[in-house]
């Protein structure tokens, strides 16, 4: 493992933010996973759906229930990883240790991705723990024998990890950490969801599929209308590429601007 990557892993693991975020993701993911599970339970009691806990779409929605929130928290960690360096004037230390700007930022990106994967696993694990009592109490199935379920789980982890890159890009582009956080959270929690809901209600599936949350839903093959998923999603791998583009664009733009700037 390169020195730059090890340095960045230590940089993240020596602040409180990473484990506070980890706990938040676990608790909130459990709560958010219970939402589609409860809806499915109500539908089943009302006789709308016959056996929702064997429906792969619903099971996947429960497993990835925390995704919508965890990805925002993962983005926050990405923003703070860069933003705090600007805020406390410590970026010079990073550049002194690794003067190659692209190498230094790749080290940061790699470390963030590793933490993103940890957050992703935590989020999905919380969803799976919530699924167990619902499924066993209702004669359902965890569908762990199906490759599609595992694909959804793995992509769920990957999508959360990718959202750390959106954060890193935002953090580089907007040097003021507090403004970057406000912009990121506002976009992630308000602007993007509102636009997505409009597209969902208008049934503009093509537009919905290219939104970050729409692409994430399509990638995870979530069909629950509770999460405003498109009726005609793109294949998971196309959705994955759309999400990767969303994540990498700000990161690349940030990289390019940081490579030229003098360090202050």
């Amino acid at each position: 493992m390169s020195g730059a990557l090890r340095a960045e892993l230590r940089r993240i693991s020596t602040t409180k933010l990473w484990w506070i975020t980890l706990i938040c993701i676990f608790v909130l993911s459990a709560g958010y996973a219970a939402l589609p599970a409860a809806v499915a339970l109500l539908q089943s009691r009302a006789g709308v759906a016959s056996s929702p806990f064997t429906d792969p779409g619903i099971i996947r929605s429960i497993y990835n229930g925390g995704n919508v929130l965890s990805r925002i928290l993962a983005m926050v960690v990405g923003i703070v990883a860069i933003g705090s360096e600007y805020r406390y004037g410590t970026l010079a230390w990073s550049y002194l240790a690794t003067p190659g700007r692209i190498r230094m930022l790749l080290g940061k990106a790699g470390a963030l991705l590793i933490f993103g994967v940890i957050y992703g696993i935590t989020s999905v694990a919380a969803g799976m723990l919530v699924a167990v009592p619902f499924v066993t109490a209702n004669n359902g199935s965890l569908l762990l024998d199906q490759p599609d379920t595992w694909r959804s789980i793995i992509l769920g982890v990957c999508s959360i990890a990718l959202w750390t890159m959106i954060g890193m890009g935002l953090g580089i582009l907007i040097k003021n950490m507090l403004i970057a956080l406000a912009v990121g959270i506002l976009l992630g929690f308000l602007v993007e969801p509102v636009i997505s809901v409009v597209f969902f209600l208008k049934r503009w599936d093509q537009l919905l599929n290219v939104m970050p949350s729409g692409a994430t839903n399509a990638m995870l093959e979530i069909t629950s209308p509770v999460l405003f998923a498109a009726q005609h999603p793109t294949p998971w791998w196309v959705a994955g590429m759309i999400l990767a583009a969303w994540c990498l664009l700000p990161a690349l733009a940030g990289l390019l601007s940081a490579v030229r700037r003098d360090v202050v």
């Binding site: 020195g3 730059a4 090890r6 340095a7 230590r10 940089r11 020596t14 602040t15 409180k16 705090s84 406390y88 004037g89 410590t90 010079a92 230390w93 550049y95 002194l96 240790a97 690794t98 003067p99 190659g100 003098d262 360090v263």
Partner: protein
């Protein structure tokens, strides 16, 4: 070991020149003081040296290699620019973050913390450190890779007198082992006490580069304040002394560069002139510094 060579460095910010065609050499085995008034371009030059700022033209190299081209720069160059730290991270963890790229073990981190006198507060968050403690932590960070060159921008800032003495001894030992130190400071008497060479710049231009020994600091001129200027002048010129008259806020006085205090004293005594003050004016780096700046205007 090769010197640090700064060659024809120019840095312009939006057409404004911060560094103008600056060239100087920092020799190994010596402490080089880097002097200049605020805004002279000292910090800019030091940041260019370690690749944080890119020069408009010119080069700055360590043994012919620019900082950014060094394979593991922390093992060649140690650098204290400003003592900024993440407030929550402990001093120890700050060094541990910098250790992997410097090839330093946790053991080395703990040893260094002890060496700079931070062993007992190593696990406290940096926010609880005083400015002096931060400077010590920054110096420990610079030393992580056991470098051959040290570049320090105002490291004596906010150190207490004991800390300054410690720093002085530390840098003297470092240079004595054949390694090179470039240190900027506005504390001229500090530089006077520790530097072997000085580089003076003003408005981005080199004013002087010379060994401290060439400045002839400490050699003095005799100054006398007397009741009767005419009688004193007469008595002193009669023994062939070189006498100048000068004026300061307390009035007129005599400067006699050719004779020392005891010679001047005995002449004035035998001529019956009442002496109000008789001292040796020692020239220090501060006076040299200001006369260099005056000369550049």
């Amino acid at each position: 070991m090769a010197p640090i060579i700064v060659e024809r460095l120019i840095k312009s910010y939006n057409g404004k020149l911060a560094v103008r065609d600056l060239s100087f050499v920092v020799q190994p085995g010596r402490v080089t003081g880097f002097l200049g008034p605020n805004g002279a371009g000292k910090t800019t030059t030091m940041r260019i040296l370690v690749g944080l700022t890119s020069p408009t033209t010119g080069t700055a190299t360590f043994g012919g290699v620019a900082y950014a081209e060094l394979p593991r720069p922390q093992r060649t160059v140690g650098c204290v620019l400003d003592a900024s730290f993440h407030p929550v991270r402990s001093g120890r963890n700050h060094l541990r973050v910098l250790a992997p790229t410097a090839g330093a073990s946790d053991r080395r981190v703990d040893d260094l913390l002890g060496e700079v006198g931070l062993g007992e507060v190593a696990r406290q968050p940096a926010a609880e450190y005083s400015m002096g403690m931060r400077q010590r932590l920054a110096l420990a960070a610079a030393m992580l890779g056991n470098p051959d060159y040290l570049i320090l921008d105002e490291p004596a800032n906010s150190l207490d007198p004991e800390g300054i003495r410690w720093l002085r001894n530390f840098l003297r030992d470092f240079a004595a082992s054949g390694r090179a130190v470039l240190i900027s400071s506005h504390l001229l008497n500090e530089i006077e006490a520790m530097a072997d060479d000085i580089v003076v710049i003003n408005r981005g231009r080199l004013l002087a580069q010379m060994p401290m020994s060439k400045l002839n600091l400490g050699e003095g001129t005799t100054r006398a304040r007397v009741s009767n200027m005419q009688a004193a002048l007469h008595a002193l010129t009669s023994i062939g002394a070189d006498v100048q008259t000068a004026v300061d806020e307390r009035g007129a006085y005599l400067r006699i560069p050719s004779h020392d205090v005891s010679q001047v004293g005995s002449v004035l005594f035998s001529s019956g002139v009442t002496v109000d003050e008789l001292i040796t004016e020692r020239r220090d780096l501060e006076q040299e510094f200001f006369s260099m700046l005056e000369g550049s205007r």
